[in-house]
Amino acid sequence: MLLQLNNVEVRYGPIRALRDVSLAVDQGEIVALLGANGAGKSTTLRTISGLVRPVSGTVFFDGKPIQRVPSHDVVALGIGHVPEGRRIFPMMTVLENLEMGAYLHRGNFSENLTRVFSLFPVLAERRKQDGGTLSGGEQQMLAIARSLMSSPRLLLFDEPSMGLAPMFVKTIFQIIREIRDEGTTILLVEQNASQALHLADRAYVLENGSIVMADRADVLLQDPRVRAAYLGEGAA
């Protein structure tokens, strides 16, 4: 297992955001994390990337416990995070954004640059343009490309399709698949359950901070409860 969470509990003051969450992601997998707003999906990602400290439980990455490692060191370990809402640097050019993504690579990052430009040709065209002037879909591409610059082994996606035109959502999901095919493991948080389940190998369903279902994606796609709650079908 590349990533493993064991009985993780996270609190925001008196609120228990995650209770007894255990999940695992294997090398080369795409794993989706589904759930309603406030179910704890983003909190799970934030716990993995060190932005939030669990009160109990452990997070193992590549066999090492990382639940006490500060977030900037988590990046250095090989976990990239594409934050919710894209969060590109609006006043830096596309190229400068990518350079910031490679901040931890003190030396040469031209190889990574070639790689992300071949994944996202549109970014190569706009390398001199300010990030803030890109369209929403292009900004999402930039956010993904930036996180790839640190050569992560595991990439965490937080709502990559949020606020994007349907056409772009397709492109983004296609790109996520390509990134996995190039060898990066992916943990994906997504509102768009149908798309996510079609993309993922396995999925977990979170409700009120607890994992209530875990199975192969194609199995969950057929599950009446999932279909009712997340795929917008009437009560089954």
Partner: protein, 447 residues
């Protein structure tokens, strides 16, 4: 009189319909209020004399003229906004475009330095004092605050606290305080202690508070500035209390066969200050273009994104805070040992705000802007003092400064000499993309 009244009435009437007329009324009223506020004061026997004395004095005409001019400027900006803006930009970036070449720029900096070295030799003693106490010190303070506010985007409203800490630690190490140091140093050797103490307190204050963002940090630093001043006033046994500290010795150096004593002549202080200003400029400009500077830019633009790029956000924020604090601490040391006397009243919150104003006026994030902005805004009131215009009075200084600031914010919000990046940030912010200033930075809660 009735003619005046009927004109006023018709102006107000047309103001209902036309935005132009409304602006005209606003400009004129504003300037007339300014005229009354800066005019003579009333007295017990003639309470309205202040009012009539300013309204019916030829001086009011000057204010009306300024109001009309302001109205003209605003109207012109509305009508030919884009063209004016372009001209304005062209004018302001002229120096930058004229010296894209590194060598040309170096020559210009050398020329500026030569002016800075030679000017004080040709002015009288009064101006030499102003050059140190009012201009030099504030230029240094602005350069330091520019690192905090302009580079890292941290809104520090208690910057003067570190100036106070530098001054009081100089007083401590030279034995001028009621409490005595382990060994009494002369003020020159107190420099590293003043800088070190200020830097340490910057780290101590920064470590817990810099986890906060935007507005929260501003409030905490504002409180810290107040606390330092109150502690200096009330901790009598240690700081000498509200009476202040007298007899802080002048610096004196005896090193490698060089022996020099600073006395009351302002010039030697000026040159000591100049050395530190130039050193700070070189060091900070180097930092700006290093990895550290890039991390600061990232933090300023989006803290969450900076964090997910693997930047140790807290470390770089504390670093910026500590650099600013130590700069302020040195300024405090120099001023304390030059004047020989400090009191808690020297370290008011207004001064923190003033230095912030200098930085914003000059152009946040721009070293040249901080220097020129601070030098100009600190020189201007003293110039007015020597060459009184329109019945200028000292106590009205902040009214004029306020007016200058309002004008700057309307016509040149990015400051006098903005850094190239900051300029872009303001350009984008105008189109509703992103935020351009430390104040509105990312204030969303962490979870």
């Amino acid at each position: 009189m009735s003619a005046l009244a009927s004109t006023t009435v018709s102006l107000f009437r047309s103001a209902r319909q036309s935005a132009h007329a409304r602006r005209l009324v606003a400009c004129l009223l504003g300037l007339i209020v300014l005229a009354v506020m800066t005019g003579p004061s009333g007295s017990n026997t003639a309470p309205v004399s202040g009012f009539t004395g300013s309204l019916f004095h030829p001086r009011v005409l000057v204010f009306i003229a300024i109001g009309l001019g302001l109205w003209g400027l605003i109207t012109a900006q509305h009508r030919w906004g884009e063209a004016l803006k372009r001209t304005n930009d062209n004018l302001m970036t002229l120096p930058r475009r004229m010296m894209p070449d590194r060598r040309v720029r170096l020559v210009l900096y050398a020329a500026l330095l030569a002016v800075a070295i030679l000017v004080p030799l040709h002015v009288n003693a009064f101006w030499q004092d102003v050059l140190v106490d009012q201009i030099g010190i504030y230029v240094l303070l602005a350069i330091g605050l520019n690192v905090v506010v302009g580079y890292a985007g941290l809104l520090d409203l208690g910057y003067i606290a570190f100036y106070a800490i530098g001054a009081y630690s100089t007083a401590f190490w030279t034995g001028a305080l009621p409490v005595h140091p382990p060994m009494v140093l002369n003020a020159f050797w107190a420099i590293p202690f003043a800088i070190g103490t200020a830097m340490l307190s910057g780290v101590l204050i920064g470590a817990p508070t810099l986890r906060l963002r935007g507005d929260y940090l501003a409030i905490v630093t504002l409180g810290f500035g107040e606390i330092i001043q109150i502690v200096a006033t009330n901790l009598q046994g240690v700081t000498g209390g509200s009476q202040g500290v007298i007899g802080i010795p002048h610096p004196d150096v005896n090193l490698l066969g060089i022996h020099y004593s600073w006395l009351i002549d302002p010039l030697p202080y000026y040159y000591l200050l100049l050395v530190f200003v130039v050193a700070a400029l070189i060091a900070y400009s180097f930092l700006e273009h290093s990895r550290v500077g890039r991390a600061w830019t990232a933090i300023r633009e989006d803290e969450v994104a900076a964090q997910s790029a693997g930047i140790n956000v807290l470390k770089y924020k504390i670093m910026a805070f500590a650099i600013g604090a130590s700069t302020s601490g040195f300024a405090g040391m120099l001023e304390a040992s030059k004047i020989s006397f400090i009191e808690p009243g020297d370290f008011t919150v207004q001064l923190s705000i003033l230095i912030l104003v200098l930085v914003i006026f000059g152009g946040m994030g721009s070293l040249l802007g901080a220097v020129v902005g601070a030098a100009f805004l600190q020189w201007f009131p003293w110039y007015l003092k020597e060459h009184p215009m329109f019945g200028f009075q000292d106590q009205d200084l902040y009214i004029y400064l306020g007016a200058i600031l309002v004008l700057t914010m309307i016509f040149r919000p990015e400051g006098l000499i903005p850094s190239r990046r900051r300029k872009r940030e303001f350009g984008l912010a105008e189109h509703g993309l992103g935020t351009a200033d430390a104040m509105s930075g990312t204030t969303d809660p962490v979870p």
